[in-house]
């Protein structure tokens, strides 16, 4: 419980810290200058403005200028010139085509100050790629210091929606802990886990658990390892042989940890052999070829596919189907769900993969988080309808869902 309070306290401190950042509005120093008109070179932009780009890590400055009077007639491109001192050597920060009057200069460092001027360039490119250019420059402006903000204001709406979603999940977790009975609908795939392993026990054949080809930097793989822990516990009690071929070394280490603990929890630590969880290859199709070989030779009775799968999903599922195994699959890759639906006995669709560990464990806090997810779903559905109704009356608030 203390950790939850710590989290809420930490977030509120961060928000308070950010407030001063909003107040720092640096008034841009703006001088109106006039450039010397060369014979064929265009007039320089009459005015220039430069100020810190908001909501960034202080590595960018927004430069804007009034178009040169000869913009249409003469100008081919504008050059944004930058220097560390008002008279010092100017370097080309970047170029834009004519008709454009803004440029974001990303080549600046936080803490240093810069001076800018804009050159309107009239360039004629002859065939042998030499070119004749006329240039008209604007007044120099500065100094401008890029500032790093502590809070990205454009993502305030994301922060609010995230806090509401997380608050809902935490609320229902706490409510579930206080013992309130929680109804959770049936998911066929998860109910079938027990009798799939039971079938393997009767037939004295193996159970294969395939945790996907993604590494530990994918939440679906972490969810798969959690489900593996539950499956290993059932296999340990039934004394069924569990085989876990993995495609990533980090997943191998984590999976071994999870299966060893599971065997320990049901009081059979001796039955766990480290080579049950074995690395095959990092390669997507090498992994599929190896598992196909194992499946056709060992003819397992039950197969689990949980985690991140890509094109190899159907290779595994179709071979498993051909070997006569009960197959239960769950993935967070929408493109692969149709193949599992076609070739497996049961498929956990998207979110159901993440709910599996809560269903198998029946632990109140985990079930509570499912109710929190439903609340968030309800909230989003409500948001869709409210935004649509508001739009009907002319209020276009859809930007509260903007992601930038």
């Amino acid at each position: 419980m203390d950790r939850l309070k710590a989290l809420l306290f930490l977030t509120s401190v961060i928000i308070l810290l950010c407030l001063p950042a909003f107040s720092q509005t640096d008034a841009p120093t703006r001088l109106v200058g006039d450039a010397k008109p060369a014979i064929e070179s265009p007039a320089g932009p009459p005015s220039v403005e430069a100020k810190d780009t908001k909501n960034d890590d202080g590595s960018a400055i927004d430069v804007s200028w009034q178009l040169s009077p000869d913009d249409q007639r003469l100008v081919t491109k504008y050059q944004v010139l930058r220097s560390k001192s008002s008279t010092g050597p100017f370097e080309v920060a970047g170029e834009t085509t004519k008709g454009q009057h803004t440029y974001t200069d990303n080549g600046v460092k936080v803490g240093e100050s810069y001076f800018y001027k804009i050159a309107a360039v009239y360039e004629i490119k002859s065939t042998d790629s030499t070119s004749v250019t006329g240039k008209g420059e604007s007044q120099v402006i500065g100094p401008i210091k890029p500032i790093a903000q502590w809070f990205n204001m454009r993502r305030l709406n994301v922060l609010i929606w995230l806090l509401v979603t997380c608050a809902a999940i935490l609320f229902y977790i706490m409510q579930a802990k206080s013992g309130k009975e929680l109804y959770v609908r049936k998911i066929a795939g998860i109910d079938a886990v027990d009798d799939a392993i039971g079938r393997a026990t009767e037939m004295g054949r193996k159970v294969f658990f395939v945790p996907g080809i993604q590494d530990m930097d994918d939440v679906a793989t972490i969810a798969a390892i959690t489900i593996l822990g539950r499956v290993a516990r059932i296999c340990a009690t039934n004394e069924t042989m569990l085989d876990v071929p993995v495609s990533r070394s980090l997943v191998m280490v984590t999976a071994r940890e999870s299966v060893r603990e599971a065997y320990g929890k049901v009081g059979r630590p001796d039955a766990f052999k480290e080579d049950q969880v074995h690395y095959v290859t990092d390669d997507q199709f090498g992994y599929a070829a190896a598992i196909d070989g194992m499946v056709m030779r060992d003819k397992p009775a039950a197969m689990f596919y949980m985690g991140g799968f890509f094109a190899e999903a159907l290779i595994l599922a179709e071979t498993g189907n051909n070997a006569g195994a009960i197959q239960i699959a769950g993935t967070n890759q929408p493109a692969q769900i149709p193949f599992f639906v076609a070739a497996c006995d049961y498929t956990l669709i998207g979110e159901e993969l993440f709910a599996a560990s809560a269903y198998l464990e029946r632990e109140p806090r985990l079930l509570g988080s499912l109710k929190g997810q439903d609340f968030a779903k309800g909230l989003f559905l409500l948001a869709i309808f409210l935004l649509l109704i508001l739009a009907m009356f002319g209020y276009n608030w859809v930007s509260i869902m903007d992601v930038s």
């Binding site: 080309v92 990303n106 080549g107 094109a311 929408p334 930038s404």
Partner: protein, 328 residues
């Protein structure tokens, strides 16, 4: 003895195939006869199923193998209609003025080459003919190699050879960088930070084409060929959403459905999906290549799959009738 005669048949078959006259092309009339025979064979299987003999997996495999291989020997071209999403992709590239800089992101590997290499070749040919400056890079190790193959093949075309395009001035290959979507993120701030050297180890700032190209704001269009992750989804999530880049993509057919939502919300300017997308893209850019010859095999195999769906439902129907007779 029985165990080894498989191998003898395989060896004999290979020898016969090698000795056949080359190249083996069949006249259009014979092609139509073969097509009719294939259709009759499928009808035969349907009759068999209706009479209660359920066919196994291997028959399906045999028909798929045959239906994909035979069209290679036929010379018969299919009429192709360009779909809206390929048309928008072509229009986005066609309206780029000469000299604009295009980032070509190659995020696929040899297994996806059949669908994406024709698109790569059509894109390179079109870009070079319209004086677009192409900057190649890839989030997959083999991507830039596929790009290199496409460029060398396209440079042999007489019209492009005449333009004597120079590496480093008209096109450049920055190679592969590991780090998945974080590569795109870093490119948002600085290309040279992520790609200090190109594949021939010349420094970033020594390449004429790249001076003034700091990050996405100096790029007019990004064309991404993708067959998985990292790929078009990441380019939309980061390059388009955060850095406002104009993105067009060629995807394998399996990847395309998950990218469609970005197309309908205009965060993707166009999409050429699968082999038909490749053939349509070749049609739109008038760079006819391998995709148009593959499309005939595609059509045959699709018809076979559809036929077997019908046969499968016939088997279901026969199953009902039998259980009803037993039950009645």
């Amino acid at each position: 003895m029985k165990k080894y005669y498989y191998w003898i048949i395989l060896a004999a078959l290979i020898i016969v195939l090698i000795l056949l006259p080359k190249p083996l092309i069949v006249s259009p009339t014979v092609s139509t006869i073969i097509t009719v025979l294939l259709g009759l064979a499928l009808a035969g299987v349907l009759v068999l199923t209706l009479r209660g003999h359920m066919i196994g997996r291997r028959t399906v495999f045999l028909f798929i193998g045959v239906s994909l291989t035979l069209p290679f020997f036929m010379n018969y071209r299919m009429p192709i209609k360009v779909s809206p999403e390929v048309q928008t992709l072509y229009d986005a590239i066609a309206k780029l003025p000469p000299g604009s800089k295009v980032l070509a992101a190659f995020d696929y590997d040899p297994p996806s080459a059949p669908e994406l290499q024709p698109q790569a070749e059509a894109f390179m040919a079109f870009a070079f003919k319209h004086n677009l400056k192409v900057i190649i890079m890839g989030l997959w190790p083999q991507g830039p190699q596929q790009a290199d193959m496409a460029v060398t093949k396209v440079l042999q075309e007489p019209e492009i050879r005449a333009k004597n395009l120079r590496y480093g001035v008209d096109y450049v290959n920055l190679g592969f960088q590991s780090g998945n979507e974080f590569v795109i993120q870093r490119m948002g701030t600085s290309f040279s930070g992520m790609f200090p050297r190109d594949i021939y180890n010349t420094d970033y700032d020594k390449i004429p084409l790249l001076n003034g190209v700091e990050n996405f704001s100096n790029i007019d269009f990004v064309f991404n060929l993708s067959s998985g992750q990292p790929g078009t989804v990441e380019w939309v999530q980061i390059a388009v959403d955060r850095y406002g880049v104009k993105l067009g993509a060629g995807n394998t057919a399996v990847q395309a459905p998950s990218v469609y939502p970005y197309l309908s919300s205009r965060r993707l300017t166009g999409l050429a999906g699968g082999m038909t997308g490749a053939a349509e893209f070749e049609q739109a850019t008038k760079e006819i290549g391998k995709a148009n010859t593959y499309i005939l095999s595609q059509s045959f195999s699709h018809m076979v799959v559809i036929a077997f769906i019908i046969i499968g439902n016939a088997a279901l129907f026969v199953g009902y009738r039998k259980s009803k007779q037993k039950g009645a």
